[in-house]
Amino acid sequence: MLGPDTAAYLIVAAFLFTTGALGVLVRRSPLIVLLSLEIMLNGANLALIAFSRHFANGDGQIFALAVMAVAASEVVVGLGLIVAMARKRLDLDVDKLSSLRG
């Protein structure tokens, strides 16, 4: 294989994943949280593709495509939620939306 070997790609994927996780945990706007989720999913996708190349098995790419479809669906629903929240004139702040508090 030309270029760096699989380990390098995996490290990039790890960085992406943790960056996305950090975004989910730290940001207060649900929109930014959704974007961070996308980053996490992409990190996972990169790892899948890297392994698919490493073992010369096409299943990894299939899985990555499925993940992409799922991510798209989830974004649809998530954005629908955000729009509904805005319609109801709720504050777009995950900390304020705590009516499930026990």
């Binding site: 270029g3 790890a14 996780a21 945990l25 299939i62 990555a64």
Partner: protein, 188 residues
Amino acid sequence: MILASAANVLVWVVWVAAAFACLASGVAVISFSNPFYSALALIGNLGSLAVLYLLLSAEFVAAAQVLVYAGAVMVMFLFVIAYLGGKADAPWTGHLPGQTIAAIVAAGALLVEIVLVIAGQADGHLSSPAEITDSFGSPAEIGRLFLTDQLLAFEITSVILLVAAVGGVILGSHSRQEASLGDDDARA
């Protein structure tokens, strides 16, 4: 061979550029307070990822990434951000200082663990990648896999998309009902 080494150097250069762009845009997404800028940074992230996929001989996935992700999903995001307008602006963080520090620690720990595993070559499993054929990653290969070995995944994925579409319609339809009720009141 010099040619081989030239190709190798080229690949290395491309790789470094794409990786750097990827990581930088990722950090940018979570850093901007203006969501518009964050979405644009994500588009950049998706583009550089597509380059990385190409380097890994996953041509179809790279194309799908650009078409679907960057083309459709991000456009949806930008539509919503434009619709929300000023409401989408969000301060960076606040109210839970402990949360921020703890989150950084947890994420950092996770990163360190994964890097350690990878650096240790995962007990030697990551030493040598296998040889691939020319058709690896081509649309024909993906199509063949989807329709034979991974048929179930294919079908389920389509169902998920259907469900998401239905969900989106339902989530959006509430406001239309409220609007129509308002019309009834006006007419009466």
